[in-house]
Each structure stands twice: as C-alpha cells, then as structure tokens.
Amino acid sequence: MTPLLVVAFLLVAAGATVVVLTREPGRQAVTLSVYGVLLTLLFVLLQAPDVALSQVAVGSAVVPLMVLLAVRKVRGGKR
C-alpha cells in the first residue's frame, strides 16, 4: 500500500471523527464540506474519477448548503 493511500485513508477517518464530534451545527456544515473534499481526494487515488466528481458536487457543495440553510431556519424558528 502506497504511503499516499495510507495518508488519505487516515485523513478520511480523522475527518469523519471531527465531523461527528463538532457539536455546533453551523460549524459542522464547514467540517462536513472539508470531509467531502477529503473523500474526493481518496476517490481520485482509488482511480474513481466518476465517483470523485459526484462526491465533490454533492458531498462538499449541495449537502453542506442544505445543512446550512436548515441550521439557519431552525435557529430562526427559535427566535
């Protein structure tokens, strides 16, 4: 196993842990987006360009955006 792959796998594992441990939902949207990029890098290394494209579009843009909008609405509801 190449060192690059090892690093990528460990980064993904660490990224996921950080996302789960981030309590504040607004900040979690940011960590989730970074985690999406880490996954994308891993997928590129795993020779999966199609999947990487999907992941970068969905995992680090659309889903975090929806999370942000939901957080905003949820906070607004509390006012």
């Binding site: 993904v12 594992a13 995992g59 659309v62 999370v67 949820v74 509801g77």
Partner: protein, 111 residues
C-alpha cells in the same frame, strides 16, 4: 496494512452511529447519518480497487479497477444526498412545531 481500508470503512459506519446516539441536535443527527453512509462508499471502492490498475475510462491499456463497485457507489451517493434532504426537511418542520431540535426535549422521539 492491507486491512486499513476496510477498518476505516467500519470505523466511519460506527462513528456515524455513535454520533447519532450522542447527538443533542437533530441537524447534527442527520449529518452523522450521512457520515455513517460514507463508510459504505469507502468500503465499496476499496473492494473494487486493484494495484496498478487505471480508472475504468477510455479503454486504457492494462487492467482497470472494478467499475461495478464505482457504479454502485454512485448510486449510494445519490441515495445519501436525497435521504439527507428529506431528513433535513423533517427537522425544519420539527423545529417549527415544537420549538426545539434537542432529542431529549422531544417526547415523541423515542429512538
């Protein structure tokens, strides 16, 4: 070392579940569900990987990595995004109706 990919996949799945149980806010719960699902992407792609093989595009010479697993992962990603959207929509309505997103304060949430 060759077990690392699978262990990472298992870790993602379990840490996601851990986050769901630990969660004190429903938006956080939804994100943790998405993290749990990302474990399945890593697992599927790792299973399909082959050293020295190229991406399954353009009829490259030599072996390619398993395209079937990549196709399944694509489907999986779509499922993840859509399920996240639906759950977030429900969270927005819960917040509106009850004024809270803390699972401990919601009497109807027994899971």
């Amino acid at each position: 070392m060759s077990l690392l990919p699978y262990l990472v996949a298992g870790w993602l799945l379990l840490i996601g579940c851990f986050g769901v149980v630990r969660s004190r806010g429903l938006v956080h719960t939804v994100v943790c569900v998405a993290v749990a699902q990302s474990g399945t992407y890593v697992l599927l792609l790792s299973i399909g990987f082959q050293y020295g093989a190229s991406a399954p595009v353009q009829g490259a010479p030599g072996p390619v990595v398993d395209p079937v697993m990549q196709a399944l992962t694509l489907t999986d990603i779509v499922v993840s995004a859509t399920v996240t959207a639906l759950l977030l929509a429900l969270v927005i309505q819960i917040a509106k109706r009850t004024g809270t997103v803390d699972p401990d304060q919601l009497d109807e949430l027994r899971g």
